[in-house]
């Protein structure tokens, strides 16, 4: 045993116990967050607040999964919205046509998403930077066009009509507003927890390495293509879950869910919240939705206000809100330590 190996052997258990501890901490935080969200309906009678949290769950899962690609792997996908749309349409169609129980339809939708994401990902992740961005965008437009033109299946540009049936399962009745709310919160918290585990796992660190220097990563024996494809498919699954929540919320699916503007919104949420911290996109989601709801309430010139906010973040802060807060906090702590 060389000196280096001996040193590593000593260090390993310590790191392992540390990661074990941080995992417990994450689970505790998740449980606490879920508990707070779950008692919310008892504290307030505001249905709008519950609606807000349901939409946050849908977009939060979508944006955080996009950040797994953008922030952690350096894959700037412009077509992530296709999986959001795929989730909404897949779930809506299965429920409308087959009458399967909700959990089965949920799993089936994820299986379909996995298959499609694997095929699309296998083609896209070979490409770099702008080429990757544009080929994902092209696939998104392909899926969007398919939804538009396959009228007999998808209803074309009118969307899935007639509502999504939702038979009760295990005592959960998703046509009940509070049940839908709790289910969305549970999906959000579980989704975030799983994504956190992915980000903190050795695989997550491999992704960061690929982002920083893919050539070096491949030299030390990492199959870069496989790692990128894996995270592409995983991110698609979480985006798809977001789409399912959205389909349940509006009780339908519309071509806009698979349009590039949804991907753009995801990118914007990430810019707003910041890509270097795990919860950045979640913060961005809450910010964007609050912004959206208050601005549309006050004025019809939503675009101008949003544009100014984008400029403020892009030129003024030059980073997302969470990045800014984390840096500010670190600076303050260092400052007071001296």
């Amino acid at each position: 045993m060389t000196e280096l190996q001996a040193e590593q052997a000593a260090v390993m258990p310590r790191i392992e116990s540390q990661s074990q501890r941080s995992r417990y901490r994450d689970v505790l935080i998740a449980l606490a967050a879920f508990a707070v969200l779950a008692i919310l309906p008892m504290l307030t009678g505001s249905k709008a607040l519950l609606d807000f949290v349901i939409r946050c769950s849908a977009f939060g899962l979508f944006a955080t999964s996009l950040n797994l690609l953008v922030g952690f792997t350096g894959l700037v996908s412009f077509g992530h919205g296709m999986f959001f749309g795929l989730g909404a349409y897949g779930f809506g169609l299965i429920m409308q046509r087959s009458g399967l129980p909700v959990p089965v339809a949920f799993v089936a939708t994820l299986v379909i998403t996995t298959l499609i994401a694997t095929v699309i990902g296998a083609i896209c992740v070979r490409l770099k930077e702008i080429y990757f961005a544009f080929v994902t965008l092209a696939f998104q437009m392909l899926i969007h066009s398919t939804i538009l033109s396959w009228v007999s299946l998808t209803g074309g540009d009118q969307g899935l009509r007639g509502g999504i049936p939702r038979p009760a399962f295990f005592g959960v009745d998703l046509s009940n507003h509070v049940h839908l709310y709790i289910t969305s919160c549970a999906l959000l918290v579980i989704g975030l927890l799983l994504m956190r585990q992915i980000a903190q796992s050795p695989f997550g660190y491999t992704l960061r390495m690929i982002r920083d220097n893919a050539i070096r990563a491949s030299f030390i024996g990492i199959d870069v293509w496989r790692a990128k494809l894996t995270i592409f498919v995983l991110a698609a699954l979480f985006a798809s879950t977001g789409g399912i929540i959205m389909a349940l919320f509006v009780s339908g699916a519309y071509p806009e869910f698979a349009y590039w503007t949804i991907s753009g919104e995801g990118i914007f949420i990430n810019m707003l919240g910041g890509v270097t911290t795990f919860l950045g996109p979640m913060v961005g989601t809450v910010l964007l939705l609050i912004l959206n709801d208050t601005v549309t309430r006050l004025t019809e010139y939503y675009g101008i206000v949003l544009g100014i906010v984008i400029l403020f973040f892009a030129i003024g802060l030059r980073k997302g809100l969470m990045d800014f807060v984390v840096e500010w906090y670190a600076r303050r702590r260092n400052g007071s330590g001296e």
């Binding site: 339908g252 806009e256 939503y302």
Partner: protein, 419 residues
């Protein structure tokens, strides 16, 4: 000498506290005054390419709301409109509609959304059970399909299938008279364009069986350049052309086709031509384009309709659109139903709306009816005529026959499996 602040409450704080106190005590009064008003929510599209849909709908609504409020409101309650932009996104339309009901306390919804948004709002109405009047979606399935039917949703707009029946029979009559056998179509490539064209052709062939379609063009929605479409049609040498392009697409199509003198080479049937948004924008409006009426103040040729169009023009400095009359009709029906039910309660109004016939400037015979069986508007003025380049643009409109419409509509419903 230094002056320090006296302990205790300063004058400024006292004033502030008095102000706060006054507000606190006054709030219940304000709230009580508000409870007397009835809020009506209206999600619509106020930004983006089809913002005109929202603004002209809003104008139509507000014009009527003023009259209703001046006459005492809904069963003594003044109407307060809460109008929000959905940006043309269905999920936003659903969100805004829910918020209007759940947070803003709206008791009635006017759904002034384009088709996909209308279906999203329809689901919200199904979920919340709130009275909802669809004012812009002309997609037949919204009310014709029994799966869509809910007791609290009504449509106060035209219906695609009505337009196709009238258009088809009008075109067939001219085709027979002028011997037009070879037809071409040119319509926007989305559900409205494809469905409307398909239904139109069905009825054209039904009334004039020896016509055939020799060329079809499907330009993209909002396509800027129509050169290839125009040349394709010219090469096919049809005797007649049908199009359901609308708004800006129709006007740029006509401007570009004018260069090739397309309109002198064939009879053109453009269902959406006779709307001021198209008529007033085209640079050289060709003479003799056949068009269905959308909204023009000269058809129906009644003083009531002319007065309504002029009042709108005087208030908003532009002519009403097809959407304006559809939305105005919603408010007229609402007011009348509330009077009949003597209540502002959504359920009672819905009960009174079923089968309600009201006087209307937009009626074929001076009245329109909310048909009870599928809760959609019938009896509105519907007809076709030919254009001239200046006002009144479409001088003679040939009225569609509602008896025929009802017969063929029933047949169509059966063929779709709706009845």
């Amino acid at each position: 000498m230094t002056r320090t602040r006296k302990p205790g409450v300063s004058r400024r704080t006292t004033l502030a506290m008095m102000g706060a106190g006054a507000v606190t005590f006054a709030t219940p009064w304000v709230a009580r005054a508000q409870a007397k008003t009835i809020k009506v929510g209206m999600p619509t599209i106020l930004s983006g390419r089809v913002a005109q849909l929202g603004t002209s709908s809003r104008n139509g609504v507000m014009l009527e709301i003023e009259k209703v409020n001046a006459a005492g409101g809904l069963a003594g309650r003044q109407i307060e409109m809460v109008i929000r932009d959905s940006k043309g996104q269905p999920q936003e339309a659903a969100r805004v509609a829910r918020e209007l009901v759940n947070t803003d306390g709206c008791e009635i919804l006017i759904d002034a959304e384009a088709s996909s948004g209308a279906f999203a709002v329809h689901e919200v109405a199904r979920d919340l059970g709130v009275l909802c009047l669809h004012t812009n979606s002309e997609t037949s399935a919204l009310t014709a399909d029994p799966k869509q039917h809910i007791p609290n949703a009504f449509r106060t707009a035209r219906q695609g299938v009505h337009d196709s029946i009238v258009g088809g029979s009008y075109a067939a009559a001219i085709a027979k008279a002028k011997g037009l056998k070879r037809w071409a179509t040119c319509s926007p490539d989305y559900a409205y364009g494809r469905d409307t064209t398909g239904e139109y052709v069905t009825y054209l062939k039904r009334f004039a069986p020896d016509t055939e379609i020799i060329s079809e063009s499907w330009p993209k929605l909002f396509q800027p350049d129509y050169t290839e479409v125009v040349t394709k049609i010219l090469q096919a040498k049809p005797q007649a052309l049908y199009s359901c392009l609308w708004g800006g697409d129709l006007t740029s199509y006509i401007d570009q086709a004018n260069i090739y003198a397309l309109f002198s080479q064939m009879e053109v049937f453009a269902v959406n031509m006779a709307d001021y948004t198209a008529l007033t924008v085209v640079k050289n409006l060709p003479k003799g384009i056949h068009s269905g009426n959308r909204y023009i103040k000269t058809y129906p040729a009644t003083p009531e309709n002319a007065a309504w169009g002029d009042a709108y023009k005087a208030k908003y400095n532009e002519y009403p659109t097809n959407w304006s009359w559809e939305n105005a009709t919603a408010i007229m029906l609402l007011a009348e139903a509330s009077k009949k039910a003597n209540s502002a309660d959504g359920k009672k109004i819905a009960e009174a709306l079923r089968g309600l016939k009201i006087k209307s400037p937009f009626g074929a015979d001076g009245t329109v009816t909310m048909r009870a069986e599928d809760q959609t508007l019938v009896g509105y003025a519907i007809g076709w005529g030919t254009t001239i380049p200046q006002e009144p643009y479409v001088p003679q409109v040939q009225a569609g026959d509602w008896k025929t419409i009802f017969e063929l509509e029933a047949e169509w419903k059966k063929s779709k499996g709706y009845t």
